[in-house]
Amino acid sequence: METLLMDRVQSSLRLFMPKNAIFLCERLCAEFPTESNLQLLANCYLGNNQAYCAYHILKGKQMPQSRYLFAISCFQMNLLREAEAALSPANEPNSEVPNGAAGHYLLGLIYRYTSRRSSAVDHFTQALSIDPLLWAAYEELCILGAVGGASDYFSDVAASRIQQQYLSESSSHKISIGDEDRSIQSSRVLGLNDSSPKQPKNLHSNSIKEISNTHVVMAAGQAANSGSSNLSLYNTPSPVASQLSGIAPPPLCRNGFFNAVSCDGSSKPAANAAILAPRRKAMEEGRLRKVSGRLFSDSGPRRSTRLSGEATAGINSNASQAGGGTGTNHSSSSRFLGGFSSSSSKTSSAAFRTMTGRKGPSCISESFDEGRKTEVFGDSCGEDASATMSSVAIFVDCRYLEEDKINLHAGGLSVHDSKLINGIRELLGLLRTLGEGYRFSCMHRSQEALEVYQKLSQNQYNTGWVLSQIGKAHFEMVDYFEAARFFDLARRVSPYSLEGMDIYSTILYHLKEEMKLSYLAQELISTDRLAPQAWCAMGNCYSLQKDHETALKNFQRAVHLDSRFAYAHTLSGHEYVALEDFENGIKCYQRALQVDERHYNSWYGLGVIYLRQEKFQFAEHHFRRAFFINPRSSVLMCYLGMSLHSLRRNEEALEMIEKAILADPKNPLPLYQKANILLSLERYDEALMNLDQLKECAPQETSVYALMGKIYKKLNMHEKAMFYFGLALDLKPPATDVAIIKSAMEKLYLPDEMGDSL
């Protein structure tokens, strides 16, 4: 009953029927209260978004997988301290983090959200070193600003590490097979029997024993994985079985194998071989690929290549290996065994070679290599595949043995290897490009990021994620038109994706496109009412219409939906500042910085508040922090210059302004600020020169003319002053400016008062 229940639970999980899964699993746990069943139940709860249930049932459990699931539920319930304690207990500083890469990634997240940056970086790097394909960990490293170079992480070293992982998986697979767990085995057998069709049941039961051994190993590893692996295992034997049924010769081998099995207790090779033969015959590459794809989440292509390779040629080597392995049990040898011994020397070497090359095939090797129980089975995840692989391999082997095509085997294995290596290399290459681009983006080196993204293939380039990253890069360079264009493309490619849409709404805000912005906001909200980005867009819409209170409400909603979304906090801060509520503004910005210290917009916002409050030292400090994070932004440089000017450090101010002018020639503000500073330094002519330049690029700007008028007034060139004041007034500035300019005009012919507040 236990296996039956487990099987149903897992298939319910797989088919997204959480309620069914939960009910059945609770019955299961009531009958057989083992910890792995509890893990399965926790899985069901987590799948149904009931982290609190998982929390309660797993509290205090010590198995690694339980600790991992417990940590996940704590994380979802925001109980970060308990999550941390579960993953790395305080009194066992050297205990291993459960689940390797995933565990390290989760720990890294916990450390990040409790503001322990260096530990976070540590764990993310470890996660990446264990599993180089864990992109999420790399992303976090970029956000924390601690990443050296994408090529470091997605390098050939990583490639070989992945290969080794697969290899070690298979080897550990073997060992686990040796350590048969009778109960699980039987349950596995049962399970397998359930899923596999009629006929080869007998054969299955034996072969299943072998396979189940491997399954057992995997099951012990991770509940979740074992679930899926069990399923996949169940699936794979069936085609095998069907294969079996169709093939006549194998029985001979099978019998022989079974004898051999009974002889030394590790009957896997025999059974496997028998199973393999028909399997190989019927299995096409495509099907193998599918199977392997299911078994191995991220090593699909490799597996398939391996499987196909195995199917075609591996058998021989397997056979040889088996032969070598079961050398002692050749008493009841059939042709098969004979074949083994004959080709043992040649194929065994080949087999060994292939074994090292791939994870899955290790099953084959393991099955045939009873003697070599030293190989360690690696991850449970791999186990399944390797088990299947082994069964496949065995089949293939058997087949080949019967046909005596040993040579093919050797050739096939190397094909496998190369395909595997190619697959790994391709994937790593792709990740490397994306990683470099993302890293440059996070370091705000937008130009370089854009160049890197250009290197992507058309297919990858035209995805929503890449296009919105490119849009973001343009946004950072204050090129709002291009950015808007790319975001538009991104929306067309994936209209359901909300990632990065908050930036798009900000861009539309800057461009003052009310229609587009409100349309975007409406669309986003109708797509997903629970996404913070949608509410940010809505808030931006209201803010553009100067309705700051409603905008603030929307941003607060976004904050409530996801308090770890830094931008929502920053935008609320901006609204508070617009409402002149500086205290709350400061609080919001600081909350944003708590979530993401490298969010330079918040540093900028704090700087602006302090500038308003005339706390110039603070302002300068905050602008400098922002500038440190994003050294390419001319706007930041400009503001830093302004704060330096307020501190009367005019030389430094001018330096910074010069940098700003160089950084972005399209930005007119640094020139204006420069003129302002020069005016205060009484270098009137230089100031006028700058303003003349500005006149060219922004002819409608009243402040330019007003400032020129002011300078001419200082120079006592009254006519020119009047002229420019008149020009400024013609362009209809806001009422305050009108008042100032008009009063300046009135006072033109009066002596200049000390410190006149123009």
């Binding site: 204050v478 709002y480 900000t506 805000y509 800057h510 461009l511 003052k512 100067k546 309705d547 935008l571 901006h574 617009a578 002149e580 917009n601 900028y604 602006v608 500038l611 308003r612 932004s633 001319s634 706007v635 930041l636 400009c638 302004m642 307020s646 399209k666 930005n667 007119p668 503000l669 204006y672 302002n676 690029c697 922004a698 409608q700 700007e701 009243t702 402040s703 007003a706 400032l707 002011k710 362009l731 209809k732 500035p733 806001p734 009422a735 305050t736 400016d737 009108v738 008042a739 100032i740 008009k742 009063s743 009135e746 123009l758």
Partner: protein, 195 residues
């Protein structure tokens, strides 16, 4: 809330008499200033107190309950620039309770209020916009700590008065701090701030 359209005022304005207009029309570069101010009234009937003046609900009103002149005091935390005062009154509903002569005073506190404007209302229905500017362009705004609105007399010689809503407007601050002038062209505004 603020609309772009220009407020129309009758020829009666020229004579210093005002009638109300049905819509609130305030320029975009003005904003409501008195959210953080302290509001008080000289007297009120229970249930029709000072809160009704600020609740954005035109059905609720403040009703005075004492001798004339009835006063509404608005005190700010710091000196502010004010440009426009708007109040909502309705002769059709309130008849003899509708104010007819209003005096606006400004100063630092109760001790040195000085009258800056007097207006006369003639059967007003709707929002009455009272500009606080002087004739001089330098006097577009008044800088003050406190504003007092005094109802000197009502229509049909009523004793008490009803006012349904009062709003006070002043200029928006420059979004870019420490600048002598506002930026008006899109080129400047785009680069003027980060968001």
């Amino acid at each position: 809330m603020a609309t772009e359209s220009e407020g129309e005022e009758d020829a009666a304005t020229a004579a210093g008499k005002l009638t109300g207009i049905p819509q609130l029309s305030v320029e975009d570069d003005l904003r409501e200033m008195a959210n953080k101010a302290a509001w008080s009234v000289s007297s009120c009937k229970p249930g029709n107190g000072v809160l009704s003046l600020r609740d954005d609900n035109l059905d609720t009103y403040w009703q005075s309950d004492g001798a004339q002149p009835h006063l509404v005091n608005i005190q700010f935390q710091k000196k502010v620039k004010l440009q426009l005062l708007v109040l909502y009154v309705d002769f059709k509903l309130d008849e003899s309770y509708t104010p007819s002569k209003i005096s606006i005073r400004a100063g630092d506190g109760f001790h040195n209020l000085k009258e800056i404007k007097t207006v006369e209302l003639v059967k007003p229905v709707g929002w009455v916009h009272i500009s606080l500017s002087g004739t001089d362009p330098r006097e577009t705004f008044i800088h003050t700590f406190m504003l007092q609105l005094a109802v000197l007399s009502n229509h049909l010689n009523g004793r008490d008065t009803h006012i349904r809503q009062i709003k006070v407007y002043g200029p928006r601050p420059n979004p870019v701090p420490r600048q002598p002038f506002h930026f008006t062209s899109p080129e400047f505004i785009t680069y003027s701030c980060l968001r």
